[in-house]
Symmetry: C2
Subunit: 352 residues, 2 copies
């Protein structure tokens, strides 16, 4: 249900764009040395093109923000509430306030908690519940995971600031720190939020719903995991109002914790592989394999490509089409691209 890769190439991260500003400035400074590999040349941003030349989707995708998510969510719940207000007589169970019950039923259904304290008992209401749960799963899975991700990212920065308060880090240093231990910070933030929500839910159920402390915690666990046996649930007006918000946030939060945990595991293994690739001894066989243009020397870019392939970061499938484009552009077939190739392309464009 979660949108797999958080490293979405089309959603430029806010951290990246900050990097980019810095680097653009760096690149404009006239380069003093004109030989081997100055450091700042390596720091091109991921999307190194001007604003007019931007990929159309990358602009529009950038705009999927909180506002849109909130609008989606409100629209969805409103529609659900409207439907269930119409068929309210076809739902059995303990009722409180008409609209409150509809909202509560919507949230309990779309998060798949499904206590069963309110149950549809006609074909129409059953059909509506089925539609609601599928639509809810899609919405929660596809849209909110993105929102949660960016919310967590903002919290991370606060966390780093708090833990390094005495050191007075600059903004760029904080961003660097967050970037390096991104996954770890995200996990800690999600876990802290979850604990807070668990405590909040337990206290509420204990105080308002008159459960014992143990039963309150049991009900919290059964809810956030979306188990929802329904032996304990929210039966008062205040309870259902609270539940409508609390269930939505806490189920998402637990899912995010599990997601971060999986990410953390993958990331750790990736780091271990990267470390191994970078520290293992280079052999002559490696040199020969890395020597892409077969000139018996391995340039920096050849070395980087070779090592990134070894790390599994890139594969043949990624390289093959780019290589094809390189060959097409290399009109004078020199094995390198120069300004003369570009001029030849332009003139052939004009001729055709």
């Amino acid at each position: 249900m979660e949108d797999g890769c958080s490293e979405d190439p089309l959603l430029p991260r806010s951290l990246d764009s900050l990097h980019n500003e810095k680097n653009t400035m760096k690149r404009r400074r006239p380069s003093s040395s004109n030989h081997a590999l100055p450091k700042d040349i390596l720091l091109h941003e991921q999307n190194d093109y001007g604003i007019l030349d931007q990929h159309p989707e990358s602009l529009s995708q950038n705009k999927l923000n909180y506002k849109q998510v909130v609008i989606f969510l409100v629209a969805y719940i409103s529609m659900g509430v409207l439907c269930f207000s119409v068929v309210r007589n076809q739902i059995t169970g303990k009722k409180t306030n008409e609209i409150l019950d509809a909202i509560y039923f919507c949230v309990v259904t779309m998060t798949t908690v499904g206590y069963g304290d309110l149950v549809p008992n006609s074909n129409l209401s059953k059909l509506l519940a089925c539609i609601l749960v599928f639509a809810g799963m899609t919405l929660v899975g596809l849209v909110l995971s993105k929102a949660a991700d960016s919310i967590l990212e903002k919290q991370e920065i606060l966390l780093v600031k708090a833990t390094h308060l005495q050191e007075k880090l600059g903004k760029s240093e904080i961003l660097k720190q967050v970037e390096a231990y991104k996954t770890e910070y995200k996990f800690v933030v999600a876990l802290s939020l979850l604990l807070l929500l668990i405590i909040l839910g337990t206290i509420f159920l204990y105080e308002v719903e008159d459960l014992s402390l143990f039963d309150a915690l049991y009900c919290v666990c059964a809810t956030i995991t979306t188990l929802g046996y329904g032996d304990k649930s929210f039966s008062t007006r205040a309870g259902r109002l609270f539940a409508s918000f609390w269930i939505l946030i806490s189920t998402l939060c637990l899912a995010q914790v599990f997601y971060c945990l999986a990410e953390l595991y993958t990331e750790r293994r990736r780091r271990s592989l990267v470390k191994w690739v970078l520290t293992r001894k280079l052999t002559i066989t490696d040199l020969e394999a890395a020597d892409l243009d077969q000139d018996s020397t391995v340039s920096a870019s050849e070395f980087i490509l070779y090592k990134l392939k070894e790390m599994g970061k890139i594969s043949e499938e990624d390289i093959a089409p780019v290589m094809q484009q390189f060959k097409n552009l290399d009109i004078d077939q020199s094995g390198t691209l120069t300004k003369s190739d570009l001029l030849l392309t332009t003139s052939s464009d004009i001729q055709s």
Copy 2:
């Protein structure tokens, strides 16, 4: 809950390894031309090192197979069944066979369906249920998503074979086809399986549990989404036996369909970006930016690095440590790695 990136760098895919075999053979053939970029040089496998030099984790991770998953699952359910056999008097609800009920309760709990037809009613049994659901979520999320992935991959090959039956494709052609439309095939396979499971579940509930066809379908929907209101559930012996397997498989299958859908969406957008990056016009600014070693020409490897960065496939964070290693290895500071650099490294190793 899903393990985010399916492109796990440490789990070499079976398809890749088949590619690799082919390429290794290719490389051993003496190269006839010795200038610009023969195609097969590009086809190094992702982990281009001998078997003795293999990263320790990549070997062990490769072995997480069905067997392990089944052992995990059986061990987990056995433990759950054992626990609930001990506290069986502390669970209320309609009972059938003692062991069957324990298995059924375990599955309903670990998949977070939570009908509520069997409910723990003592502190001990409630605690056990809480532990069970968290452990179950972890198990289902972390382990089974991987297993499902590789099961689907095998099915894909069958699907391609079936759809191209008249064309008599060779094995490598099938693999190529699967690789190119991996995400699409995975989605179709998961969706077909889900539909099959829905039909199977509906027929079973209609025939064995004596529900109307509509109610049977409603119960199926409420179950596979893990909603589990509990107004309709499995109450007979045969029903609970069937449910124990069917719920486990169908909930995983629906989750996989949603996961594939998200993957498909990301993949489509990635392809659109790749296409855009490869077709947009190259400018002189691009050439200058891509020219890593500032020799006024752009080699194939420089061009590939530049384009992969533009696609968002790789970032500065990936490149920086490799660049550092390159500088360390480039002992004679020529800006390229040659055999002499390797010899210098070895001799300094001996001296120290």
